[in-house]
């Protein structure tokens, strides 16, 4: 039983590793592509535009919005890679409950980026 588990896990890890190539190179969305410009009912108050870095790449977001929102607006969906099975994980609950979005922010590990606010110049990295 234990051996079978081990083999299954090894197999899963291999297939996941094959997938990683696409995980690590997401298509970066153009600025404003995912932002709602006009809404029939709501008006959005956005902070000033600031630069921040995701895995060393420069990106633009609005100050004060959750970091996760800025990442999604830039086309980043995978926020971390799980330790054992190397599976990508993204945004899920948006309210700091589910731990799916833990990332490294300016050197600090395990930051819930769905509630942490965006500041100028922060460096956001995936944890593996």
């Amino acid at each position: 039983m234990r051996k079978a588990n081990h083999i299954a896990r090894k197999h899963l890890r291999r297939t996941c590793e094959a997938r990683r190539a696409t995980v690590f190179q997401p298509r970066i969305a153009a600025f404003g592509e995912r932002r709602i410009a006009e809404h029939p009912i709501l008006k959005f108050k956005r902070g000033r535009k600031v630069k921040f870095y995701f895995e060393g790449k420069e990106m633009i977001g609005y100050e004060g919005e959750p970091i996760a929102c800025a990442l999604i607006a830039n086309g980043i969906k995978a926020f971390r890679i799980t330790r054992q099975l190397k599976r990508p994980r993204g945004f899920f609950c948006a309210v700091g409950k589910c731990s799916s979005c833990l990332m490294k922010v300016s050197g600090k590990a395990n930051v819930m980026v769905c509630v942490e606010r965006l500041k100028e110049g922060i460096r956001v990295e995936r944890m593996t």
């Binding site: 995912r34 009912i41 956005r46 959750p66 999604i72 607006a73 993204g90 945004f91 309210v95």
Partner: protein, 368 residues
Amino acid sequence: MVKEYELVIVGAGPAGLSAALTAGNLGLPSLLIDENPQPGGQLRKQTHKFFGSKDLFCGIRGFEIARILTDAVKKTGRVQFLLPADAIGLYANNTKDCPYTLAVVYEEKLIKVKAKAIICALGAQENFLLFENNDLPGIYGAGAVQTLMNLYGIRPGRRALMVGSGNIGLIVSYQMLQAGMEVAAIIEIMPEIGGYHCHAAKIRRLGIPILCSHTIKRAEGRGCVEEAIIVKVDKRLKPIKGTERKLSVDTICLAVGLTPLTDLLATAGCQILYIPELGGFVPYHDEDMATSLPGLFICGDGAGIEEASTAILEGRIAAGSAYEYIMGSSKEAEGIKEEAKERLAEIRESPFLQKIKEGLGKMSALSK
């Protein structure tokens, strides 16, 4: 740092704001805390007009109700806001004059807040669903999609599949259309649509299929969701072989129910019961919204999954009870409570809320 208050209200959603408003009007100095930077809770994410009666804000859009309630609470001048602050622990001290201590994290510092009475309007958390690859990025809870679209103006994707046709599923699907997304379909495992038919009709008029007796089998994609495989189910809710269909979507939104948040109440030692009709584990409470611990009251979705209108009424009852607990019996508080209880009974006559009535009946039976 230690602070002392007569009453502390945890959670500034519809229930908490309503409790704060009632307490403020009764003249009770209280503190309202919430983990979000703005009060309003889930109301802030709703773009549709509510219905019901006038004093429960019918005809007004959810995000506007949040503003109206917040302004009314501020106007009483008796309620202090502490935002954003996380309540991480609640302890019963067993001393007569100040029986509760609440541990709060505010601006990355721990504050101890002492109170004579506490109202917990904690709300709920979303349920998750088991299916293959349910951890792929692109699978969101309905609340997360609302947060992204309606608070921050970001589309989570281009084309979505909604799982669940309760009111949340229907409303969020409509909101996705408002935000400029496509909705491939809404699927529902039960043979009938779960939510109100006026919401379902709005969706259907726009040509979006609501597929009853369907469930999601698998999500597929490299690195994020690219396809969803849905399947028909039989009367016993078992998938029927050969009825699988592929939908090309980049977002899967789960609206499969809510569970009351009970962790804070559990740390205080409240009696907690398992009642599926109310959403799972629920703290015991009586008609006056009092839990098994004296001086600790609850209201809103945290006391059983219902609606914003009933949450507002429950907030009034909880605040009235807390006032009487601190100040002794009062005619004014009694009047507010009686009126709210009557209205609550009226609303719960609705065929959509029969489950709640059953659940509350079970609760009083189980606690004995």
